[in-house]
Symmetry: C2
Subunit: 354 residues, 2 copies
């Protein structure tokens, strides 16, 4: 299977339209800054690493159209405003910006494109490394005569990244190595990234899994049916607090209450050293319509929007929550496993390693 | 508004078809044991108190058809098997059984009917008392210049009972008394009793509320946007462990982590003194189809089933979880407020009061 973000032979950029998964597998061409921004805003692409990569290409497209300083700044600001919580978005845009700003306008578009390609290649390598480190942790939890039981929330899989995924990277590594592994897939309301995307990509790869509602994980942990929880993250504060999809905090509480390890797959680019603790992270408030209406397939096989609440009942839709560092067993980065603690994070960021 | 279970002028028994709420308000006549059993199994009626009342009428209908000992026992067993977790079901059936068994067959049907009516009247009085006791607790949490913020899970409201509800009874009492109150309504996947039933009945009574996904409550508590959590229960063990709708445990963990009071509205008939602790409570496993398919209204206004998971991705559907007593701030019974503790429960059940 190809990457989630790929170039065809004519160097045109493609991805999957994730809104239509798992029911329809539709390629989406991204051919302009506007395409990239729209894909991020509408969540045709989502997942912190993938958003960063798409935004980097978006900046390259913008520079093809107009590479002057003012246009560069405008495109940077527009792309940065597409999603507020993920720090990778800013990280990727700033990385491209730093490369292109010193260049003459005529050289900027190609340099930005090369940076976007490099961000993609590095994401793949980063996620593979996270997979190796996390697989080593998870292997230790395996019990004889029983598949390793992993619970995950949302989708931090291949299609949240350029390849491999973050939280799902060790799952694929273990599955390919022949270890019996089974994944409890949280549905992840309101957008159902678990029930749609995680279930879809695990099924594509033949990894045994079971979809559950977000409410069920606590019971499963009390029943010792979960050996570990592993999730991705959208932003990690300097003290180890983790912003991730809404509901992550509840699973961390249940893991802690039942002494189940709770791991966060965390590319170093997701750590925000300027954010001292999690309560300073802006929580994106998304449309109430994501709560009141769902996308699903009707009996005739058509993808449709359905209403599940009474007319006029208001809804609120915070998209992320913050899991305090005290509930996180470890952060798994591409450089190794570290405690979710201010000192370990500072050491890692200063180049001291994991 | 009428009760949830009512007799018309011709003494025919009616309820609402809750599967079709909130979109369609359809009266459902219950005219036989089979009607009652089917309504419970298909969840046209649900909620522990309402299930008990409907089962009692079901036994009365059965006795109209055949009041001999063997028929009585058969109907009792069939009705008891309709749902495994709620203890009210057994309680209501045993109460009718104790009254009718000593009677001659010819007198049994009328006596059973009278008992079913009495169970309904007592449920209404019980829930009103729970409402008074819980309202007194909640009033103390009200802050100036701000509506009292209550979070509830599932539906323990008027339509889970004959009237008033259990967890929602104090909400209605406070609202009618003029106290500003706002309810965060957990959607309550997979059957969405919050998004459909709780939102519907709060809206009918004009109580301000906001629907949220089950994942959101933890964040709201961290943000101090919840003054108290109050839920119903399906069975309470002798030690105070609470079996309630799947996901309740996660909210209790979040309440505990944020020092938010977590109250359980608990008719005494819901306490099972023979069950020593919560891990002994059988957890009903319902159809995976409730996870993979939802009922909703399409753009043309039709109520339809739609699929939200990939074809062939398996799903699991445990319907209840157990909240350990240590996470429960108090049980609110019709006789008063007691700690979720084995001694207080034993004292209450022995007639020592709250």
């Amino acid at each position: 299977m190809a990457r989630t973000l790929w170039l065809d032979s004519g160097r045109r950029l493609f991805t999957w339209d994730q809104i239509r998964l798992p029911f329809e597998t539709v390629e989406l061409e991204l051919a302009s800054e506007q395409d990239c921004a729209k894909a991020i805003v509408t969540m045709q692409v989502r997942g912190a690493p993938l958003i960063g990569a798409v935004a980097a290409y978006g900046l390259a497209f913008a520079l093809r159209a107009d590479a002057r300083d003012e246009a560069l700044r405008g495109a940077f600001d527009r792309l940065l405003a597409t999603r507020p919580t993920a720090v990778n978005l800013r990280w990727a845009l700033e990385r491209v910006m730093q490369v292109v700003r010193p260049l003459a306008p005529g050289a900027r578009a190609d340099a930005a494109w090369a940076q976007a390609c490099a961000i993609c290649d590095e994401d793949v390598a980063c996620n593979a490394a996270i997979g190796r480190h996390a697989a080593a942790l998870l292997t230790r939890l395996a019990r004889p005569h029983r598949a390793l039981q992993i619970l995950t929330h949302c989708n931090a899989g291949r299609i949240a990244t350029v390849d491999h995924g973050t939280a799902l990277s060790p799952i694929y590594a273990l599955h390919e190595a022949g270890l019996a592994v089974h994944v409890w897939v949280d549905e992840t309301r309101p957008r159902n990234q678990g029930a749609s995307l995680t279930a879809w990509e695990l099924r594509e790869r033949g990894v045994p899994h079971t979809v559950i509602v977000d409410n069920a994980g606590g019971l499963l942990m009390r029943q010792r049916q979960v050996d570990a929880v592993i999730v991705g993250c959208d932003r990690v504060a300097a003290n180890g607090d983790v912003a991730n999809k809404i509901g992550t905090y509840l699973k961390a509480l249940a893991a802690h209450d039942n002494e189940v390890p709770f791991y966060v797959a965390c590319p170093i680019s997701t750590i925000d050293p300027h954010c001292l603790h999690g309560d300073l992270i802006e929580i994106e408030q998304r449309s109430p319509r994501e709560v009141t209406h769902l996308l699903g397939r009707d009996e005739e096989g058509r993808l449709r929007s359905f209403q599940v609440t009474p007319d006029d009942s208001p809804a609120a839709n915070p998209a992320f929550d913050v899991t305090p560092a005290r509930l996180v067993t470890a952060l798994v980065t591409e450089q190794g496993v570290i405690p979710a603690h201010v000192d370990a994070i500072a050491q890692l960021l200063s180049g001291g390693g994991a």
